[in-house]
């Protein structure tokens, strides 16, 4: 734990770094999003900012670009303290950000997007010709020659990204923050982007590169800063940090304690003899997840491991029918299942606990009781209405078995704590008596006690014969709960581990291994 706060000594420290963030703290109601985080960016480097969900990457960037006001710490730009209060101010200081979802105006022309808000004027009129020339010149610096009068939306994501970078550089050019720039690009486009990044770096620009693609970090980044749970884990030279170490630091495990959790694991019943409840063959969707195979047997927990953005949720959504697969087949209970939809999936006994509880799970204004019976009632249709007494009975049963802490069943669910909300959504699916339960990050953002309860519940459901697909960023959890683990990396299923192989070290190694060409 020694390197937790200090980071490793830098070989040749330049006199003043381009950007220095010292002990930056940011607290949201109830959560410390950033806890005394240091971050240093030099001129002429590509610096990767890494971390799992909730690590504090985006908060750090938002503090830097003036979207959030920090609660403590200093920001020094070339040695001088700065106080950016808005994106505009940050831009004036020379800090520009290009977001993953490309924050430009899709319907307007490429040229206009580069100059929006700072158009050259003459006699009260916009000089469209110089905008066009300026945009062409700005894009030429990125080796891009396109018709700048066409609307942005008519170009590919990669080109839109380049336009966003061109705008950022044209506005101000000292620090460029790229927030997940590669997640919607194909391989050639990534290469093109990296070429541009290297060129800009050579021109003295400091680039902050946020991504969850490990390979890309090793491709292009000079240094890596790792955050975890709002704290700095450390800053490292890329060349001196092996992949496996990086992954271990990101998920907060050390490479050596792989056997520690092993003892807790329950031995799985031999499930290979039975027929799988769900049999997935070559299921995939372009841009989301490469075709994969998977069998899930009744009475077993299959884990899904992989870093953020590795395609875990995407795979689960395909199985549940939330997204349409463009390849592959599924058999359920031995029967071929054609044309999946959520309603069909639920009718077949699927349940899906979504990752984003607030957006995809809760109906915040409805009561705890209504949230619990929602899926069961939807499955029954409105004519077979559950009586109020029956609803209360179901709700109370789950409040008891899942130990939901509430005064009454009619309290709006938004007033409950995160852990209790999560249990309520779990209860919603258990009420439908599912044969397969897909749990996407069921323990995220809930307290330790509730976490342990949910893990115990998973074990119990498994013993009762339910098939469970368990997705979690916490390797420890995955290892403890699952008999088999499907490992994903960069939206490809790379391995399926079972038996002895299900341990943290093995999973981390599998994630870290380079692509098999």
């Amino acid at each position: 734990m020694a390197d937790q706060l200090t980071g490793q000594p830098v070989a040749h420290p330049p006199p003043t770094p381009l950007l220095e963030m010292r002990s930056v703290t940011k607290t949201f109601p109830g959560v410390a999003a950033l806890d005394r985080v240091d971050f240093t960016l030099r001129a002429g480097e590509i610096h990767a900012l890494m971390g799992e969900n909730g690590a504090g990457k985006s908060t750090l960037i938002k503090v830097l670009t003036g979207i959030h006001a920090r609660d403590g710490g200093d920001i020094l730009l070339a040695g001088k303290p700065v106080e950016p209060h808005s994106t505009i101010q940050a831009q004036k200081l020379g800090i520009s950000t290009v977001y993953q979802e490309i924050n430009l105006i899709p319907e307007l022309s490429v040229a206009e997007n580069v100059f929006l808000g700072r158009q050259p004027m003459k006699l009260g009129a916009i000089r469209w010709r110089s905008i066009r020339r300026g945009a062409e010149a700005a894009l030429a610096r990125l080796d891009l020659s396109i018709d700048v009068t066409r609307p942005l939306i008519s170009y590919s994501m990669a080109i839109q990204q380049m336009v966003a970078i061109a705008r950022a550089l044209d506005v101000s050019a000292r620090i460029l923050i790229l927030d997940e720039p590669t997640s919607s690009l194909d391989e050639n486009e990534v290469t093109q982007l990296f070429r541009v990044m290297r060129r800009l770096k050579d021109g003295g620009l400091g680039i902050v590169f946020i991504t969850h693609f490990i390979d890309q970090v090793y491709d292009v980044a000079d240094r890596i800063t790792v955050l975890r749970n709002g704290r700095l884990v450390g800053a490292y030279e890329t060349a001196e940090l092996p992949r496996i170490e990086l992954i271990a630091k990101m998920i907060g495990r050390s490479v050596s304690d792989e056997s520690a959790a092993e003892a807790h694991r329950e031995t799985e019943a031999d499930s290979t003899a039975k027929q799988p409840f769900v049999q997935v063959r070559g299921l995939g969707r372009r841009g989301a997840i490469a075709p994969f195979d998977l069998d899930i047997f009744p009475g077993e927990v299959v884990g899904m491991a992989g870093l953020l953005g590795s395609g875990r949720t995407e795979a689960a959504r395909l199985i549940f029918g939330l997204d349409r697969a463009d390849a592959g087949t599924m058999r359920i209970g031995g029967e071929p299942a054609k044309r999946t939809s959520v309603r069909r999936a639920i009718a077949r006994g699927f349940g899906f606990l979504p990752e984003d509880r607030g957006r995809q799970g809760l109906v915040p204004d409805l009561s705890l009781r209504e949230n619990i019976i929602l899926a069961l009632q939807a499955k029954r249709g409105w004519l077979r209405t559950l009586s109020r007494a029956r609803q209360t009975e179901i709700a109370e049963r789950f409040i008891k078995t899942l130990n939901i802490d509430t005064t009454d069943t009619d309290k709006p669910i938004r007033l409950l704590s995160g852990g209790n909300q999560q249990k309520a959504i779990l209860a919603r699916w258990l009420a439908t008596e599912p044969a397969l339960l897909i749990l996407d990050e069921p323990t995220r953002g809930i307290d330790v006690g509730a976490k342990a309860e949910i893990q115990r519940l998973i074990a119990r459901l498994r013993r009762d014969g339910m098939a469970i697909l368990f997705i979690s960023s916490e390797l420890e959890e995955v290892v403890q709960s699952s008999g088999r683990v499907m490992v994903l990396r960069d939206r490809v299923k790379v391995a399926e581990l079972c038996g002895e192989d299900v341990n943290e070290g093995r999973i981390m190694h599998t994630i870290a291994e380079a692509h098999v060409a």
């Binding site: 995809q360 204004d365 939807a378 249709g381 209405t385 409950l416 909300q421 919603r428």
Partner: protein
């Protein structure tokens, strides 16, 4: 990052309390300053009086706001209710009276009010279903989708009446507007029956839950396996149907179909009633009783202003101010700003 829930230790005041207080204030004002306001006379076993009058006059708005409540609960809006009222009135009056100039004289219903009313209601429901389809299946924003019928609907009604006011002498039709049932005006009875039916349907079956879930969080509803499209089409259909019923009553009231003025601006009154009643324009939880009280409040205000000898148009200014006030009270940003100021003071 998941949002932490706003926890509040105080039990929330039921939202319906505010419109009830407002209504009580208006009625109390009248009680003190308007002579004979709360007198209810019994003549021939029928009730008469200012209070009964308010309820009677609020009939169409109450009916429309019941439908509007459901639509708004799904985070929608229906601007076409006034036009649908005009169409329904025109269809029923045209079929009953069979004037030569109207295209409706081609359909002989033998003067049967029942057939005419069923036809009018059917057409209204179809119009509502059309709105619902545009919203749910074509994905058009609700304001826009219903705007089309708002623009064209009154034209259609005028076409049916050939631009004339169709008067009719049909006992059963007129009864709808002027008759009495069990001592109460028929309009009041109809509103009561509709209110009870819709309340039962939404509170005793799962329909209300589905509506609130679809309006409260459409994404989560989809995840839970709800058919949000069907729910939306259903509420717009109900809204159209009830607007049609209101159109029949409005026509019966004056024994004529006036395509120009029937239900003019009623969409605004209905939206206002719903908002006053505590149903948020963003969808989710709804209160039918609240909307009814909202409609009564609007009518009580109008009656009060009239009875004080102020021209009726002044109510528009009051309504405008009320809309802004209610919306601000519902707006998250306003409330947090307000709380901020209060906290700073203390």
């Amino acid at each position: 990052m998941s949002k932490t829930p706003v926890t509040s230790s105080r039990a929330p005041v039921p939202r319906i309390v505010w419109p009830i207080i407002a209504l009580a204030l208006v009625l109390g004002f009248n009680l003190l300053f308007t002579h004979g306001f709360c007198q209810i006379e019994v003549r021939d076993g029928r009730l008469y009086g200012s209070l009964i009058d308010i309820i009677d006059r609020a009939g169409p708005v109450m009916l429309v706001s019941i439908g509007m409540t459901l639509v708004i609960a799904t985070a929608g809006i229906d601007l076409s209710v006034g036009a649908v009222m005009a169409i329904a009135g025109a269809v029923a009056a045209g079929l009953v009276a069979q004037p030569d100039y109207s295209v409706l004289s081609n359909f002989d219903v033998g003067g049967s009010f029942v057939i005419a009313a069923v036809a009018a209601l059917l057409i209204s429901a179809i119009a509502g279903a059309g709105n619902g389809t545009l919203v749910a299946i074509c994905g058009v924003q609700p304001i826009v989708a219903t705007l089309i019928l708002m623009v064209a609907g009154r034209g259609v009604a005028q076409l049916l009446t050939s631009g004339q006011i169709i008067t009719f002498e049909n006992e059963s039709f007129a009864y709808l507007g002027n008759g009495f049932l069990l001592a109460l005006p028929v309009t009041v009875s109809i509103v009561l029956v509709v209110f009870i039916i819709v309340s039962l349907l939404t509170r005793k079956t799962a329909l209300g839950l589905f509506v609130e879930a679809v309006g409260g969080n459409p994404v989560a509803s989809r995840h839970a396996g709800l058919r949000s499209g069907a729910v939306k089409i259903a509420v717009y259909t109900v809204c159209g149907l009830l607007a049609g019923l209101a159109g029949l009553i409005a026509a019966a009231d004056i024994k004529a179909a006036d395509a120009n003025n029937a239900g003019l601006y009623i969409e605004l009154d209905a939206i206002l009633a719903v908002v006053i009643g505590g149903t948020a324009l963003t969808g989710g939880r709804f209160s039918l009783a609240g909307s009814i009280i909202g409609a009564l409040l609007i009518q009580a205000l109008t009656t009060t202003i009239l009875s004080r000898g102020v021209p009726v148009e002044y109510t528009l200014v009051v309504k405008g101010a009320v809309v802004i006030a209610v919306c601000l009270l519902q707006a998250e940003r306003f409330r947090s700003m307000f709380l901020h100021v209060v906290r700073r003071r203390t």
